[in-house]
Subunit: 114 residues, 2 copies
C-alpha cells in the first residue's frame, strides 16, 4: 500500500509534457469505473436504465437480497449515478448520469459483438 514518492514534473517546459492526472481527477475516474466493474451493480444499472424500479422490484428481478440491492444503490447514489423518489414507503430508483449510461451501453455492445 506504500509506493515510492515522486517529484512533480516541473510545469513550465511545455515540450514533451503530457497532461498529468491530478489526484482528484484520478479519484473520480477510478470511482466511476469502479461502479461499473461489479456484476451486481452492472445488472442493477442495466435494469433501471430504461425505467424506474423500486428496491424490492430490483431485488426480485435480479434474484438478489433486498439488503444487497440497498447497499449497492447507496454506492451508486453517492456517486450521483442514480436518483430516487419516494412514494409512500417505496423508493423508486432510476438513472441519473447519461454519460455513464452511455459508456455502459457502449461497452455492453462492444462485449457482445464479441
Amino acid at each position: 500500500m506504500m509506493e515510492e514518492e515522486k517529484k512533480h514534473a516541473s510545469l513550465g517546459d511545455s515540450k514533451d509534457e503530457y497532461d498529468e492526472l491530478d489526484e482528484e481527477t484520478l479519484f473520480i475516474v477510478s470511482q466511476t469505473f469502479k461502479a461499473l466493474s461489479e456484476p451486481t451493480r452492472i445488472r442493477i444499472l442495466h435494469l433501471i436504465s430504461d425505467k424506474e424500479f423500486s428496491v424490492n422490484d430490483i431485488a426480485e428481478h435480479l434474484g438478489l437480497l433486498q439488503s444487497t440491492v440497498s447497499h449497492q444503490l447507496r454506492f451508486l447514489k453517492n456517486l450521483r449515478l442514480v436518483k430516487y423518489r419516494r412514494e409512500g414507503t417505496t423508493m423508486y430508483y432510476s438513472m441519473d448520469d447519461n454519460h455513464v449510461l452511455d459508456i455502459l451501453n457502449q461497452t455492453i455492445n462492444h462485449a457482445r459483438h464479441h
Copy 2:
C-alpha cells in the same frame, strides 16, 4: 458470496422483456471496467496512450516499482488492452484497444470539467 438463485425469464413473450445480460457479457464488461477502476492502471494507460514506453520508463515516470508496473501490465495484457514488442531485453508497451482508450479519455474529460 452466495446469492439467491433465480429462474431465467422465459424467452418467448417479448412484451416487457428487456435484454438480459448473459454471464459472459457480464464478465467481459466487468473486467473491462475493473481495468479502469484502479489509479495505478489508469495512470499507466494514460501515460502510454500516446506513445510506447518501456516497463522501467513507466515505473520512473509514475514513481512505481518495476514489479508493480509489470504486474499491472500483465493484467492489462491479459485483457488485450495493451500490446508490446521486444527490443533486446527491453519491452515496449502501448495501447491496443481504442474503444477502451476512448472511454477512458471521455471519462477523464468528464471528471475534469468538474
